[in-house]
Amino acid sequence: MTTEYALSLENVHKNFGGSEIIRGVNLDVIKGERHAIIGPNGAGKSTVFNLISGYYHLSEGEIKLNQQSIFSLEPHQINRLGLCRSFQVTNLFANMSVFENVRCALLWPMGYKYSFWQLLGRQKALNDRAHEIIELINMTERSYIQVGVLSYAEQRALEIGITVAGGASVILLDEPTAGMSSSETEQAVELIKKVSEGKTLVVVEHDMGVVFDLADRISVLVYGEIIATDTPENIRNSQAVQEAYLGKEEEEGN
């Protein structure tokens, strides 16, 4: 019995100009698990997300999504293979309503492609699904409000809603609770648990409470390398991780 990986990174490198930001990351995400990536600021967590989602191209290495190589694909192609991501900075369709935002996220997965012969208002299945997603993220009363005037927490929730709307099997969330109050964070975590059921979740997060609450396994990324991947308990007790987080000066000198 081999373990089935939803996502695997093999020796992934990324250079920007002369500087190497990601220095040989190896990461295997098991299908159906909730996997958190943690690490100090500037470790390259967001860069890893950008590489996986095709936003950046790899300098070296290989990324596989459900055993299929995706390292040379464009973001929309990777998305169509069942991977969706959220953004650290809220990244919505600003001039549209909540409903329109969610509906946009459903168009491609529901097969509308570039159609200019179907009227959106008449697509019952599409509109019903959009309302379901909005209900899932508890924003039904806010459906027709322009997203620009939503509260920050609401925007973050919508960000998650758009990310999961298309039914992607692998979901990447980039700091979903950043900037939230503790009660908002609690709600966000519940929401993430709810929407990631039966899916593979990879999350970058700073809030350790959230990480230990959510994750089945944790990877620690330090200076462009994964130094440990293990269960939350083992990570918590790991000497290497402690040192990385406390930032031992002499190690940095190497």
Partner: protein
Amino acid sequence: MITEKTNQQSGMRLMIRRFGVWIGAALLLVILPQLFDSGFAITMMSEMCIAIIFSLSYNMLLGQGGMLSFGHAIYYGFGGFIAIHAVNQVTEGVVVIPLELIPLVGGVAGFLFAILLGYISTKKAGTTFALISLGLVELVVACVLLFPSFFGGEEGVSGDRMLEWSITGTGFGQPIEVFYLIAFWLLVATALMYLQTQTPLGRMANAVRDNPERAPFVGYNIHLVRFFQFALSGFFAGIAGGLLAINYEIVNSEMIGALASGHVLLMTYIGGIGYFFGPILGAVLYTFLHLTLVNITMAGQLYLGVLFIVIILYAPNGMAGILMVHQPVWKAGLIKRLIPLYSAALGGGLVAFLGAMIMVEINYHLSLSIEPDAPMQLLGLEFLANSWPPWLLSIALIVAGYFILKPVIRNIGHKWNELTNEMQGGQTR
């Protein structure tokens, strides 16, 4: 649409609410040439209708797709040239196309050229897109000189629209007959363009405009979204071009160049790019001013330019934006409280404009007329341009206008705050 169960009356009401605007527009287009039946009026209305189609097609790029093009007249122009060649082919008996469908030929031409040139230009949005569109204009203008057999050189290509073939049996000898053909295509094209905004492609064009970074992560290839939007926009521009070819029976290189592209940009922006109906307002106003000003003053283009700048600076959402801002005030029944201030602003504005206009006209007379020393005529008055009274009057009017406008504009701001507070207070209570 109306089922048997539906109450006839409410069904009727629903019809009117849904299609009222369209029925009203159709009626207006039928009645207008009966009310204004002079040759000049018919010409102007025909040109307005064509400009509306062209401007709406431009807004498919700019307003809906976020693509600022400086070369949209390419597809309008190719629509015109292909249409006039098609007319000539029909006259020679090579092909059989009724005149009523010639605009469609123009549309297909615009579509095909948009596909040909659009694939590269839509790879990037923003500045890159704008610059490529500018480059394409240069390219096409160069082609006009390179291929005189197609473009007809400097004098252009002419044709005779009175074809043997006609679906309606109309000869199209009379301008009013052509007007009704244009009006028909205006309704069809406008309805189609409106419906397009309600389709998946139309919506994703908005999405790509708003956030090209996110759109790929909902599964869309943003290049293709722009490209398809561009191609459809070219189709409607081509229809407008075909109609212009029929209307004037001549097409020349002016129609395809940078100036025509500039006109459509100006009228669309003046009308308002943020609303579907904005370009309609813009096209009507711009065409009206363009045609009338050209007859009465040499400085016509200058006034249009000033109007454009004023809109860009003070009403970036155009005429449609100005209207829509007032919609809630209108609904709350408070609009009458703005009328005195607006009248004062209009008065002050007119005084200042009059002053500025006198100065502009004097200068045009002095530098461009054959006899600068001869008396000039303005608003029915005759005076010498190089005498001091008109100059003094001009300056006095500008200064007076400024001092009228300044407090009025401040008070309009106060009034707006007052009304906004009142409306919000009314809602919470």
